[in-house]
């Protein structure tokens, strides 16, 4: 492997009760690349994201970030009996790592959500400012008594700057939920960037957008990758966007990897075509 990988997912299986949502998926995302995760509805894409960001602890497998193991689990307790995935004993006896999502974000992995999750009662500016809370050095007393004025000023300055870069300055004092849909998606990405991530996970950033907006988004994603030196891993259904922007594509169907490669390979991959056309009809 010549390139340095930022994210490495290793034998991840996620099983809910008797349902295996993600089945023994392994993948790597290299530094600076844009990787897309595609697949028919219910293929386990968002579940995979939720495992990487710590929302769910996987039933089995491990996740590495910049070469360091951040998540690891093996079937335990009830799951031990129920487990239907592969490699049931591979990680047994090894340390269980199940950090909460905030710890993952602190490491430098930020995400957006499929169904927009902005802070409804707050303004655009405040939505971004909240992301700065994570890197605070103040404690509750110094913050209450304003002994952190310098840090507070810096948080605000950084947020202002991000607003400028993201073209959200004019709606700075609007309530987040009063923005048009496309802008809300924009803001969600801005908010994720405010945590200063190295890896950005986008969950269907173009969902609900018209072709014009999708085109703009395509350029936008490329731009932030270069400007912020990001690695981007994204779930998307708009194939134009995916084919245009992705360096590599990973395809899931029924929780299993069915293909991986550059857009040209995926376009012509027989199994991928079958997955989309046959079996479960998509959209």
């Amino acid at each position: 492997m010549s390139k340095e990988n930022v994210l490495k997912v290793e034998n991840i299986t996620m099983q809910f009760g008797g349902v295996v949502a993600v089945d023994n998926v392994s993948l790597e995302v290299d530094k600076g690349e844009i990787m897309s995760l595609i697949g028919p509805n219910g293929a386990g894409k968002t579940t995979a994201f939720n495992v990487i960001t710590g929302v769910y602890a996987p039933s089995n497998g491990a996740v590495y970030f910049k070469g360091e193991k951040i998540i690891q689990n093996h079937p335990q307790g009830k799951m031990k009996k129920l487990y239907q995935g592969e490699n049931p004993v591979m990680y047994e006896g090894q340390q269980v790592l199940a950090p909460t999502p905030d710890k993952i974000t602190k490491l430098g992995i930020a995400r957006t959500f499929q169904n927009i999750r902005l802070f409804k009662s707050q303004t655009v500016f405040e939505n971004i400012l909240i992301a700065k809370h994570m890197r605070r050095t103040s404690n509750i007393f110094t913050a209450t008594f304003r002994l952190n004025a310098k840090e507070e000023a810096q948080m605000r300055a950084e947020s202002e700057e991000l607003l400028k870069i993201m073209d959200l300055e004019d709606v700075r004092n609007e309530l987040a939920t009063s923005l048009p849909y496309g802008k809300q998606r924009h803001l969600e990405i801005a908010r994720a960037l405010a945590t200063k991530p190295e890896l950005l996970l986008l969950d269907e950033p173009a969902a609900g957008m018209n072709p014009q907006e999708t085109l703009e988004l395509t350029q936008f994603i490329g731009r932030i990758r270069d400007e912020f030196g990001l690695t981007i891993f994204m779930i998307e259904h708009h194939m134009d966007l995916v084919m245009e922007i992705s360096d590599r594509i990973h395809v899931l169907d029924f929780g299993k990897t069915i293909a991986e490669g550059v857009p040209e390979e995926i376009r012509n991959n027989q199994r991928v075509i079958e997955a989309y056309l046959g079996g479960v009809q998509d959209e």
């Binding site: 960001t53 929302v55 909460t100 999502p101 905030d102 710890k103 974000t105 602190k106 930020a110 995400r111 959500f113 999750r117 902005l118 802070f119 409804k120 009662s121 707050q122 303004t123 500016f125 405040e126 400012l129 909240i130 992301a131 700065k132 809370h133 994570m134 890197r135 605070r136 103040s138 509750i140 913050a143 209450t144 008594f145 304003r146 952190n148 507070e152 948080m155 605000r156 004092n173 908010r191 994720a192 945590t195």
Partner: protein, 362 residues
């Protein structure tokens, strides 16, 4: 309006308020209902704001307030009863085992700290629970605390189910105003800090807040402990106001009343909670008193239905109507400010009201 003039206005307003109270106290008979309302209102304002910090700003639906007030009240009373009165107060328990008395401010803070410590311990298991389960678990804890404090075996400390009395109380209405005022100011400063923003983020969307790097467990616990601290202090003040306390006072009905104050004022508005606590106390203790008078005649007409208890029925109906038809409460999530107030009258400051959290640091 710049921050400085705003601050000057606020300071001026507070000074004027305290001055007014001082003058009122000189000129009005001390038995006036007005003072009862002001004293009790100030104390309830503090506990309502503390509850609002949890329910309104952090989105944690907790119903343990009465329990934490009990802890504060008992700690205050136990630590301040003069040593010479202990033999008579603890007559069934040989004068009790606490044989010292602390100064009042120290005991009030101690009351807050004891409540906060309990909140920390209780919070470890229950804060993981979701909305209504959290409510019922905290309500349960308040009941457990009440039972424990009435337990005979703890009598040497708590005096069992007997009254605690003879501890120092306050005469002037300024006292609860100043203590509550300082505490509420602290809560407001907290809400406007980066931690307050994190609390609001948790309220709006837990999952997104967590994805923004906010440690849910840590921040929920902080909000819970701080809220309980101030509930404890207000419990101490309530003890001072009542001059005697007993564990059986702190029933869940008390928590419900505080919750209703918060709802009427507007969930998520500090000034709303303050305004509504005075209104609530004034209505329940004073303005609706005439409804309890059986022999009320208006122009020779004997008003029917009036007898003791009717006041509370009317009051409950009004509250129910508020809950159903006026769900935003008095203030919604907005805050009362000079700016908004003057803008309301002059319409000169026609610009959009910016919510406290955003504007306060500039």
């Amino acid at each position: 309006m710049s921050t400085k003039t705003k601050a000057a206005w606020n300071v001026g307003l507070i000074a004027a308020l305290l001055g007014l109270l001082f003058i009122l106290e000189q000129v009005m008979p001390s038995g006036s209902m007005l003072f009862t309302v002001l004293k009790k209102g100030a104390i309830y304002a503090l506990v309502a704001v503390s509850m609002n910090l949890l329910n309104g700003f952090t989105g944690l639906f907790s119903l343990g307030q009465a329990g934490f007030m009990l802890l504060g009240a008992y700690t205050y009373a136990i630590l301040t009863i003069p040593t010479e009165s202990r033999a008579s107060v603890y007559q069934y328990f040989d004068g009790g085992i606490v044989q010292f008395a602390l100064p009042v401010p120290v005991a009030l803070i101690a009351g807050g700290i004891v409540a906060a410590i309990f909140a920390y311990l209780i919070g470890l298991p229950v804060l993981r629970l979701k909305s209504d389960y959290l409510a019922i678990a905290t309500l349960g804890f308040a009941e457990i605390i009440r039972a424990v404090f009435q337990w005979d075996k703890l009598g040497p400390i708590t005096n069992g189910s007997n009254l605690l009395r003879n501890f120092p109380s306050f005469k002037s209405v300024l006292y609860p105003f100043i203590v509550s005022g300082i505490c509420i100011a602290l809560i407001v400063m907290l809400i406007n800090s980066t931690y307050g923003r994190a609390f609001k983020a948790i309220r709006d969307d837990e999952i997104a807040a967590e994805a923004m790097g906010i440690n849910l467990a840590h921040h929920k616990r902080l909000a819970f402990v701080i809220s309980s601290f101030f509930a404890g202090v207000s419990g101490g003040l309530l003890a001072m106001y009542q001059t005697t306390i007993q564990a059986s006072m702190f029933k869940s009905a008390m928590t419900y009343e505080i919750l209703l104050i918060v709802v009427i004022g507007g969930i998520g508005s500090v000034t709303g909670s303050c305004i509504s606590s005075f209104l609530f106390i004034a209505c329940s203790e004073w303005w609706l008193r005439f409804l309890d008078n059986e022999n009320l005649y208006i122009g020779g007409f004997h008003v029917p239905f009036l007898r003791p208890g009717f006041r509370k029925v009317v009051f409950a109906v009004v509250i129910m109507a508020m809950v159903l038809f006026y769900r935003q409460g008095i203030m919604g999530t907005k805050e009362f400010s000079i700016e908004a107030f003057s803008g309301f009258f002059k319409k000169k400051f026609g610009k959009k009201k910016v919510e406290e959290g955003g504007g306060s640091h500039e």
